[in-house]
């Protein structure tokens, strides 16, 4: 208890704002709906999981007079039940639809968020063909008048399915069976993929398969698993051993920089690796999936290639808030940046905790 109280005092200077919640089940999903709500979903294997639409406490959305809003709680705006684990969830913009992916069973489920009640109901299924039972398809949404669901377990299975008609409107058409770790829609016709091997590519769906690609990272990466995110600053690619590469989309073959993030050991569950660019801060990104922390890095501090990168800020709330014993520390399952508030993040951990934190830039002058 002592350590927890000490950290609480320290947190007064580390964070502007800090909220900590206990969900009924841990989530691997944090998907925004506009900038006022997030979706979370459970991933337990033998019981019914909940999919929840949570609305942020009002004080986080108001611009002035924050002090007059006492409510600090999440509101459960909608909820639904899923029979299987949910590993990914995407909201289809401008609709009340969600697409989820999980296990067991290789298929995507489409859900509807009710308008006149607080229920989320499953409405349809999108079949995905994959023989290996332990793999699940990654998902990204092409939002347009006729939204399309981009999904795939491997490069060979990459498809875009029209949500309304369920007709396939695009296929990669390749036989390459490399496993995917992330998919990201970049524009009306472009998307980025990242394979578990670290192979990255930018694809234009109007052309026959000819992505701008990198070469898979060298053998030095030692069999780690990669994931990536494209931002306005470039592409950040993260490995399960802590290596972080910055790439220029115009020249994927030559990384701009490559650093080693301070992680005490490789990620115990590389599927939980996340790297995200800050939408409101020019040069910042966040990483998680190695332990109970989230690290915020400023990429302009990375002089060249190679070397240790010191994070600008490390969120330790998931272990220190309640003073857990070090061996009982949970694992951060996912994190996301607030779309509007520049230094606010949400992070979720395997102990079902969900934090909303606004970190103080240590470089800001007093």
């Amino acid at each position: 208890m002592e350590a927890a109280e000490d950290w609480l005092v320290e947190s007064l200077r580390l964070y502007q704002d800090f909220h900590a919640f206990d969900l009924s089940g841990a989530t691997r999903v944090l998907e925004w709906i506009e900038d006022k709500g997030v979706f979370v979903a459970g991933y337990e294997s033998l019981k019914k999981n909940e999919i929840l639409h949570l609305v942020l406490p009002l004080r986080l959305s108001v611009k002035e007079n924050q002090g007059l809003f006492p409510e600090r709680d999440f509101k459960v705006c909608h909820g639904g039940f899923s029979d299987r684990s949910v590993f990914d969830l995407k909201h289809v913009p401008n609709t009340r639809l969600l697409v989820t992916s999980g296990l067991p069973g290789c298929y995507l489920k489409v859900w509807q968020v009710a308008e006149d009640s607080d229920v989320i109901k499953a409405v349809s299924t999108i079949a995905v063909h994959e023989k290996e039972a332990s793999l699940w398809p990654r998902v990204a949404i092409f939002s347009s008048v006729a939204p399309g669901v981009l999904h795939g377990v491997r490069l060979s299975g990459l498809k875009v399915v029209d949500l309304a008609s369920q007709k396939t409107t695009y296929t990669s058409g390749v036989s390459d069976s490399e496993e995917l770790s992330s998919l990201q829609v970049l524009g009306a016709d472009t998307f980025a993929f990242c394979c578990t091997s670290g192979r990255l590519g930018l694809v234009d769906t109007r052309q026959k398969w000819a992505p701008s690609e990198n070469v898979s990272p060298s053998a030095g990466s030692g069999g780690g698993r990669w994931c990536a995110e494209v931002g306005s600053r470039g592409i950040a690619s993260l490995c399960s051993d802590g290596q972080l590469c910055l790439l220029d989309p115009r020249d994927l073959c030559h990384p701009v920089s490559s650093v080693q993030c301070p992680v005490s050991s490789p990620s115990p569950d590389p599927e939980l690796l996340h790297v995200t660019w800050a939408p409101g801060l020019d040069n910042c990104l966040a990483i998680s999936g190695f332990d109970a922390t989230v690290q915020v890095h400023d990429v302009t501090c990375w002089a060249g290639t190679e070397g240790q990168a010191e994070p600008l800020f490390t969120h330790r709330g998931h272990i220190l808030l309640d003073g857990n014993a070090p061996d009982a520390a949970p694992l951060v399952t996912t994190h996301t940046w607030h779309p509007r508030k520049p230094r606010t993040l949400l992070s979720a951990a395997s102990d079902a905790s969900l934090h909303v934190w606004d970190w103080v830039d240590p470089r800001a002058s007093r």
């Binding site: 007059l68 639904g80 607080d118």
Partner: protein
């Protein structure tokens, strides 16, 4: 409020409770013919009659005292007891009002405070008087936790610890085998001065729980505390003064303990003051009700006075003019009068200062105005006060959220759950969650709606030893999987139920048993004499009915068990014999079977007789 129609099954009616943050609680339950009113709250958002529950719902004609068996008040918050004096003295109720001892002690203080604000500050006319509050409290019967209180010879109630505020309780109402549990406001996580709510596996037919916060996921206590500490710390660091208006009891103790715990850690030297009126009153009540606080407080209290803090000192009004930073806890809580208002007026003009409002403020008070964003206030004598100090509204209320409600349902194991003060459309998901996890039915009535619950009460029936022995004699052992039919007579006398044998029942009632005998005629073609026909029948039945006792009596008749078969000559046709088969009512089954069997035909007896 809903209509109470006195159905046999528990049937709560649902009144009041408007918005999410303030509602008025007032629920009517009809259980096995008894009528109980749960809470009698005031709606703080209204200034007119809408703030009181509509008691005409209870009974259109007839006195409330005759209709209601008792009233139960869960805790001293005004949205649960604010309408009580109006109800008992102005509408009229003279029956018992049950509440815990702390609630009994504190209720009248809050009611009087509220009355003063309403009448003196806002000049309201149709309001209860101080005398009415006193008269109302005379009707109160105070109860202890876990004490079974007999309201009458059928209705009993029991209070359980609810956390939330000092003296708050959840109540179990029981009539015979049927029971309802009403939670009032409760909290499933302990705080620094109160414990968490707790109930045993009492398995009520119905659990009525507040669901105002049912669709929320609450921010952790540590983060709320952190926010408070941060605000105080920042203000004090820049040399400002922090005013925290509080009620005598409630959050004040919690916040004092919090500041005391952290002041040294944060290396702060600024003084913290607690206005004297507060200390005395608080000490008095906490001493009286020490069993209501949490374990840690009780331990500390034994060693020292609860309000002898290291860093917190008694306030003197002169200190308000001292330069430099300080923190002051002062009453009253809504800044409507007294010391807190005085201090506020002195400090409001400096933007370095801060006022932290820890709770809801009633309309018309300065607290309510500044929380609405008003920055220019008209004070007495038309003086204009410009508020430059920072205003912070913090919620420290301890209510159960979705997780807390699930925990309580898990503890009590009710058959059904009823959620009050929520909006049905916005709670469909929670309803499904509760129904799925606990396999119970979940109701969410709207204000004014009546919910009727069917129950299957267990009625214990004593079985007479004689009857039991007789059944056992049959030889077959009881088998839980194979129910056996038992014949007996149920005697209901003086609320006593007994199952006895029919003979015993007849004896007790002084009646003679009537014997019913049936006789059936079966025609048989046989030219021989009657005795030979009888013999033929006897041989046949003996061979066919191996499990039954078939006898040929000396007078020529045949018996199967207790059924008699006699052969007689047909009056007109010598070639036909008439078999008379007769049996008593008890042997109906066998008698019908025998008749049918004989009608199928009887083979010729082997020559030479049997």
């Amino acid at each position: 409020m809903g209509e109470g129609e006195g159905l046999a099954a528990p049937q709560p009616a649902l009144p009041a409770g408007a918005g999410q943050d303030v509602g008025r609680s007032c629920i009517l339950v009809s259980i096995a013919g008894k009528n109980v009113m749960l809470d009698c709250g005031m709606h703080m958002g209204f200034n007119d009659d809408r703030r009181f529950p509509d008691f005409s719902y209870i009974t259109r004609n007839g006195r409330l005292t005759d209709f209601l068996d008792c009233v139960i008040i869960s805790h001293f918050h005004l949205d649960h007891c604010g309408a009580l004096p109006y109800f008992s003295e102005m509408v009229g109720y003279d029956g018992p009002i049950y509440m815990t001892h702390p609630t009994q002690a504190i209720c009248p203080i809050l009611l009087e405070d509220y009355r003063k604000v309403a009448v003196d500050k806002k000049g309201e006319a149709n309001f209860f008087t101080s005398q009415m509050i006193k008269d109302c409290m005379k009707k109160v019967v105070a109860v202890h936790l876990h004490q079974t209180v007999q309201v009458d010879d059928e209705l009993e109630i029991k209070a359980y610890y609810a956390g939330h505020v000092l003296g708050a309780a959840m109540f179990q109402i029981r009539v015979g085998a049927e029971s309802v549990v009403y939670t009032g406001d409760y909290n499933m996580t302990p705080d620094r001065h109160l414990g968490a709510a707790w109930i045993d596996k009492c398995r009520p037919n119905l659990l009525i729980t507040e669901s105002t916060y049912a669709t929320t996921i609450r921010d952790s206590k540590r983060c709320r505390e952190r926010d408070f500490l941060k605000k105080v710390h920042e203000t004090v660091e820049r040399g400002g003064k922090v005013l925290i208006p509080v009620f005598a009891l409630g959050r004040a103790q919690e916040l004092c303990i919090l500041l005391e715990t952290f002041w040294e850690r944060m290396n702060l030297k600024a003084p913290i003051y607690f206005s004297t009126g507060l200390t005395e009153k608080a000490n008095h009540y906490y001493k009286l009700f020490i069993t209501w606080t949490n374990q840690k407080i009780r331990k500390t209290f034994v060693q020292r006075n609860m309000f002898e803090f290291k860093h917190i000192k008694a306030f003197d009004r002169a200190f308000a003019d001292n330069p430099g930073p300080m923190v002051v806890f002062a009453t009253p809580g809504m800044l409507h009068a007294g010391q807190s208002l005085q201090i506020f007026r002195k400090w409001a003009g400096n933007e370095k200062n801060m006022v932290i409002m820890p709770g809801y403020c009633v309309q018309g008070t300065v607290g309510h105005k500044i929380l609405s964003g008003q920055r220019k206030l008209e004070m007495e004598g038309r003086q204009l006060l410009e508020v430059k100090m920072q205003v912070e509204y913090m919620s420290f209320s301890a209510h159960a959220d979705a997780k807390g409600i699930m925990q309580l349902v898990r503890q009590a194991e009710p058959e059904s759950v009823l959620l009050v003060h929520g909006e049905a459309k916005k709670m469909e998901f929670l309803k499904q969650k509760i129904e799925q996890e606990f396999r119970v039915t979940c109701y969410m009535p709207a204000n004014g709606e009546t919910v009727t619950l069917p129950t299957s009460p267990c009625i214990p029936v004593g079985i007479s030893l004689g009857l039991l022995k007789r059944e056992m004699v049959q030889g077959l052992l009881p088998d839980a999987k194979k129910p056996r039919l038992l014949h007996g007579t149920l005697i209901m006398k003086d609320s006593n139920f007994r199952l006895v044998s029919s003979e015993q029942a007849l004896k007790e009632l002084g009646l003679a048993e009537h014997q019913l005998r049936f006789t059936c005629r079966v025609h048989l073609h046989d030219t021989r004499k009657e005795q030979e026909t009888a013999m033929r029948v006897y041989s046949h039945l003996k061979s066919v009915l191996k499990d039954h006792c078939v006898q040929h009596l000396p007078d020529g008749s045949v018996t199967v068990e207790s059924i008699l078969i006699q052969a007689a000559a047909h009056s007109e046709d010598p070639g036909t014999k008439v078999l008379l088969v007769s049996w008593t009512y008890q042997d109906e089954e066998l008698g019908s079977y025998l008749t049918a069997l004989l009608k199928k035909g009887v083979p010729q007896a082997p020559s030479g007789g049997s």
